[in-house]
Amino acid sequence: MRDALAPLAEALSRQAEIDARAIAARAEDEAAELVAAARRDARAVLDGARSEGAAQAAADAVTSRVEAERRARRMELAAQREALDELCARSAAAVGALRDDPCYPRLLDRLGDLARASGGADLVVEVQPDGGLLAKGRGRRVDCTLGWLAVRAVDALGGEVRRLWAP
């Protein structure tokens, strides 16, 4: 009886062996595939990270360059502003010094004429203690004080002022 089943047992065991080998081979293939896929993924992740890093570095470089340029521009504009303020201060001082000039009375006469020519002959002229004069009439006045004359002198320069900082 046992002998009679022997070929069957042998065939089953052979089949089992073949199956086991096939399963093992498939498992090996799958494992190799998994490893390869994992390597591919890792490479892709690495490449992605590398290019992302490079892009970030480039973006950071642009940001810091832009920031530096902005800072430089701010400083340049602030320096120009300071130069203009200095010009205003110096011109106010220079115009203020006219009070000590021997020609000052003639300047006042001339300013009085100017004020009346502009605002009307009925304006009453008052000499101001800070220099210059104020001409007043009904509903209008003309301010020819030295302080305002200095401001108008700088305003009248217009684009000339840029020569303060032009190379």
Binding site: V62, V66, R70, R73, A78, Q80, L114, R138, R140, G159
Partner: protein, 457 residues
């Protein structure tokens, strides 16, 4: 008026809201520029709104807060507002009246020009022929902006139209030719203004950009000056200094609301939706200041950006703007991705003059037409698919749907900080049409298809 001895009028009859009524004035005209001097010496500025014999109505730009009728003095310039013009504007940030906000000195120029400008003589106008590259694929490929053109951007509520305007202003160029951008921001909140400034920083530091910033809290009459100052500066840069200038005006709806407010203060008869009856001619006096002049190399291109109240394209502001401008770019909420440009509702009427061989790419116009035709067919197929299901569509129709999707993802969708080259844009455009079978691309020539088509068939 004497420069050295200007007359100061002290007879302030009334202070009413932003208005100062001055009596006893002589030789003062409408729209004249005025300076208001406070008791403290502070100087404010205004415009003459009306003159009746010796009475002048002056609207104070900075408002009348702190003014006393007894102590206020007003001088008149003898002319409408003029601004200094020249290269000094480049790289500067100013308020809506052109006063510096960047810590620098006032803008100084050798020359000055009236902000109201002069209409361009139609006989010396030259038709546009060259493009402005915006770096935004959907605009460059399908609604190309052309030098000297006026092309409006219409946005439905809640869409990032200011970001798009700022992106275009930050990226736009004309190849290697001298180029400047003037961004006139009107009625912006502090948040929006900060966003716009951030986006523009790169160009601003390159000294090619001028930013005029009129905030929502600034006086409305200042808002009426902002676009005019921008255009006055642009005209000088373009036609005297020979640069190509792009003027971005955002948001024109805020400008029109300011116009409505000033019109109401003047007691004018309101027209449609209470806007003044002259809204059309007022807008035309701004938009028509673009163009090119024969014999002068520069150009002024105007990009007005406006939000449509309630998403209504028939609202007076977009409606009248649409009559004047040469096309529009429509931002729609139905387009899910930034920049939300709806290609089938957008059109650049000057595109034919500025795109194609020798300007952008030889196949540009055909490729754009092919994409638009494809998107139109895809829209029809999409509507059909809504009824019968996508599986019931023909294979070709399904390819059209795929093409529309490829357009949305590959060409239209763009990051707000992404500047695309023309080559990149065309590369993407070819990828979009290559989703379709070659037999469907009837608008493209054989030579162009040989060079650009990358599909399977």
């Amino acid at each position: 008026m004497s420069t050295w001895a200007p007359v100061e009028y002290t007879g302030v009859a009334e202070l009413r809201g932003p208005l100062v009524i001055v009596r006893g004035v002589r030789n003062v005209g409408w729209d004249e520029y005025a300076t208001i001097i406070l008791e403290s010496g502070e100087r404010r500025h205004g415009l003459v709104l009306d003159v009746d014999r010796d009475l002048a109505v002056v609207q104070v730009l900075e408002g009348t807060g702190g003014l006393g009728a007894e102590t206020t003095r007003v001088t008149f310039a003898g002319s409408p507002l003029r601004v200094p013009v020249g290269a000094g504007w480049q790289g500067r940030v100013c308020n809506g009246r052109g006063r510096p906000l960047d810590g620098g000195p006032p803008i100084l120029g050798d020359d000055s020009a009236p902000v109201a400008g002069f209409p361009m003589n139609p006989t010396v106008r030259q038709p546009p022929t060259e493009p402005v590259i915006t770096g935004v694929s959907a605009i460059d490929a399908l609604t190309t902006l052309v030098r000297g053109q006026k092309l409006a951007v219409f946005a439905e509520g809640g869409l990032p139209h200011l970001e798009l305007a700022a992106q275009v202003a930050a990226q736009a160029h004309t190849g290697g030719e001298p180029f400047s951008v003037i961004f006139a921001a009107m009625g912006l909140t502090h948040g929006d203004a900060a966003t716009v400034r951030d986006i523009l920083e790169r160009r601003s530091s390159a000294a090619e950009l001028t930013l005029l910033l009129n905030l929502a809290g600034d006086p409305v009459i200042e808002r009426l000056l902002t676009p005019r100052i921008a255009l006055t500066v642009a005209e000088h840069l373009a036609f005297v200094l020979r640069r190509h200038v792009l003027v971005v005006l955002a948001d024109m709806t805020s400008y029109c609301e300011a116009l409505r407010e000033v019109s109401a203060a003047r007691g004018e008869i309101p027209a449609r939706r209470a806007y003044p009856g002259y809204l059309y001619s007022d807008l035309a006096s701004i938009y028509e200041r673009c163009g090119r002049i024969r014999g002068r190399p520069g150009s002024v291109t105007v990009l007005p950006v406006l939000s449509m109240p309630g998403g209504d394209i028939t609202h007076p502001v977009p409606d009248l703007t649409g009559y004047i401008t040469e096309g529009q770019i429509l931002l729609s909420r139905e387009v899910p991705s930034y920049p939300h440009i709806d290609p089938l509702s957008s059109l650049s009427r000057m595109m034919r003059a500025g795109a194609g061989e020798g300007r952008t790419r030889p196949e540009h116009l055909d490729l754009a037409a092919q994409i638009l035709a494809g998107l139109s067919r895809a829209r029809q197929a999409g509507e059909l698919a809504d009824l019968v299901g996508e599986s019931a569509l023909t294979r070709t129709d399904r390819r059209y749907l795929a093409m529309a999707q490829a357009f949305l993802v590959g060409l239209l969708a763009q990051r707000p900080d992404e500047a695309r080259t023309l080559a990149d844009t065309f590369d993407r455009a070819w990828q979009v049409v290559s989703v379709l079978p070659r037999s469907e691309l009837s608008m493209l020539g054989e030579q162009a298809l040989e060079a650009g088509y990358r599909g399977q068939e």
